[in-house]
């Protein structure tokens, strides 16, 4: 559930979005690209906690935000989880109270098992922290399209055909697909919580404005 702070007036609505996925699939790279490329009205520093050999041990945090026509501050706190298997406790703690999830998979053929195990871990942890996979906004991103021996887009689409979640293809190191994935998660997030927080009728915020204001890049929003 997004967190609503009435003070200081006219209030603040904070969404917690979490980038999940196997170790070294590019979650932190996604966040770095978002930090570099997005141009919302408010953008904080990318807070990177402890790392070890380029691996996230705790989490990364990117704050983004803008003001709705009503003056309501819409704030996004975008987190990454540590992907390594042994940090499951940390992963679960970061996933708690999430309002939306991006699952970043590694496109390389030899990472298929890791992707599967990580997604299974996501479904397990979603249930453990009291979230519902059926209703929570979730976008799937297959990253590292630029590497050799990756699963073809057709193969991936065929495999995820039965799943209800949209699948995106990205090369986060170049920034390809990063904003698109995030934009889709924002769209799902808006639809999920629009009624509850009266985003349209109470704060004059349409879905299109919600996404474009958060992204700040008109060309990334189709």
């Amino acid at each position: 559930m997004p967190e609503f702070d009435p003070l200081p007036a006219p209030g603040k609505l904070t969404f917690k979005l979490v980038y999940y996925g196997p170790a070294q699939s590019g979650k932190t790279t996604n966040l770095m690209r978002l930090h570099d490329e997005l141009a919302p009205a408010l953008k904080g520093d990318l807070m990177t906690m402890e790392t070890q050999n380029d691996r996230t041990l705790y989490f990364d945090l990117l704050p983004l935000g803008f003001r709705a026509p009503s003056g309501l501050l819409i704030k996004f706190r975008v987190f990454t989880v540590p992907g390594q298997v042994q940090h499951d406790g940390t992963r679960k703690a970061v996933l708690s109270r999430a309002d939306g999830i991006v699952f970043v998979a590694d496109s390389q053929r030899n990472q298929t098992v890791n992707n599967g195990e990580s997604f299974q871990n996501l479904t397990d942890n979603v249930a453990r922290v009291g979230l519902d996979l059926a209703t929570i906004p979730l976008a799937v991103q297959f990253n590292k399209r630029d590497l050799g021996d990756v699963l073809s887009e057709d193969e991936i689409k065929a495999r995820w055909k039965q799943a209800p979640w949209p699948v995106f293809f990205a090369t986060a190191t170049r920034g390809d697909g990063v904003a698109e994935t995030f934009a889709d998660l924002l769209r799902q997030t808006y639809r999920r919580y629009e009624d509850e927080y009266h985003l349209a009728d109470g704060h004059g915020l349409s879905e299109r404005d919600f996404v474009s204001q958060a992204i700040g890049l008109p060309e990334a929003v189709s």
Partner: protein, 401 residues
């Protein structure tokens, strides 16, 4: 500790004491009274009542979480001070979030371990239960196999005894039949010979010849011999008949049988093994006819009787075995009492154990009482052994109506 991802207020990031020291240091550096205020304008540290016009927002993530007031400071220095404070706040926030997350993840790991632990305990308990169940089932199966083995042994023994008895009966009954018949005919002929005494002695010299041949004695003794022989042959015939009855060659299935008839048959066989002069006393009261397996019941009676007879062997002519039967309206009670040496109290609890015997190797199978109890139980009856060393043993067999 609250959730690690909770947004932190200025008060949470800067404890009052540290905020006070910070304001003191800044006041010296900026040459101005200094204050830190939170979002609601509450002074957290420093001087009160400073004009708000000079306040600078302190931003942690996106939005201000408090203000720095230093009205008399140089604006550039004031901005630099605000930036310095922000860096402090970020460092502090990182520390607090990492600490909070560490606690949360440790708790999550601990819960996971506990969950695994309880799952392990559960499966351990399940395996223990299974093992116990398995053990019980093995014991039960062993018992069943033991019992089956005994029954098989017994059945085979009965069958071979039955075959032997049938063979003996067949082979002996025929010769016994004609020997008995011939002996009767011989008695008739002897009568005719005896009838010759008067005419022969009336002849001249006849009396002298008769006397010389000692025919009076011969004829008398001949009659005795034939009588004894007929008695002996009758006894042989009875033994064969008892043997047949005991092995139930001609009554293999269950049927209505007088218990006393079975007891008498068993007594007749056991009697022949008594020590010379020892007594087997039958005290058979009115007993009921009984639907049973006669061959098996005979076997049980004979096993108990055989023990009793054997127990009295040392007593010689003083040995006594008493067999009694009573029907008390609910059950038939058969008591077989001997005045033998009794059973050692140490051995008494084991007398029904299969293959337990105190007899020399080769003489006892250790199955007599075991099988007897099986047979009684098969008839819903029971068998109880009482014994006093030096005085004798009483075995009570009860058969319900």
């Amino acid at each position: 500790m609250s959730d690690f991802d909770q947004e932190l207020s200025l008060g949470a990031l800067l404890p009052a004491k540290e905020a006070g020291q910070l304001c003191g240091s800044l006041a010296m550096l900026l040459h101005s009274p200094v204050a830190l205020e939170d979002l609601r304008g509450e002074v957290l540290a420093g001087d009160r009542g400073l004009p708000v016009e000079s306040r600078i927002e302190l931003v942690l993530e996106l939005e201000p979480i408090g203000y720095l007031l230093a009205p008399q400071a140089d604006p550039v220095a004031r901005g630099a001070a605000a930036n310095l404070i922000r860096q402090m706040l970020i460092a502090r926030a990182r520390y607090l979030m990492a600490a909070g997350l560490h606690i949360a993840s440790t708790q999550a790991d601990y819960e996971e371990l506990q969950r695994q632990n309880s799952a392990l305990r559960e499966s351990e308990a399940k395996y223990k239960e299974l093992a116990a169940e398995l053990e019980a089932r093995v014991a039960e199966q062993v018992k069943v196999i033991d019992e089956r083995q005994r029954q098989l042994y017994q059945a085979e023994r009965l069958a071979s005894v039955g075959q032997l008895a049938a063979g003996v009966a067949h082979e002996i009954n025929n010769p016994i039949g004609f020997v008995r018949s011939n002996l009767s005919t011989a008695q008739n002929y002897l009568g005719k010979l005896a009838g010759l005494a008067a005419p022969v002695t009336a002849l001249a010299g006849g009396a002298a010849v008769w006397k010389a041949a000692d025919m009076d004695f011969t004829l008398d003794d001949f009659a005795d011999l034939l009588r004894d022989s007929i008695g002996g042959v009758d006894r042989v015939a009875r033994i064969v008949s008892d043997l047949k009855g005991f092995s139930s060659v001609d009554r293999p299935q269950e049927g209505f049988v007088d218990i006393n008839e079975l007891l008498t048959g068993a007594c007749n066989i056991a009697e022949k093994t008594l020590a010379p002069g020892a007594a087997l006393i039958r005290d058979l009261g009115p007993a009921k006819s009984f639907l049973c397996l006669p061959g098996q019941l005979s076997q049980a009676f004979l096993a108990v009787l055989g023990n009793a007879v054997q127990a009295t062997a040392d007593k010689g002519p003083l040995g006594e075995v008493r067999v009694s039967s009573r029907f008390d309206g609910r059950q038939t009670l058969i008591r077989i009492r001997d005045n033998g040496g009794g059973i050692d109290p140490v051995a008494l609890p084991r007398v029904f154990d299969p293959f337990f015997t105190t007899r020399p190797v080769g003489q006892g199978t250790g199955l007599g009482l075991t099988v007897a109890r099986d047979i009684l139980r098969a008839h819903n009856g029971e068998i109880v052994v009482d014994s006093t060393p030096g005085e004798g043993t009483t075995v009570t067999l009860s058969l319900p109506d």
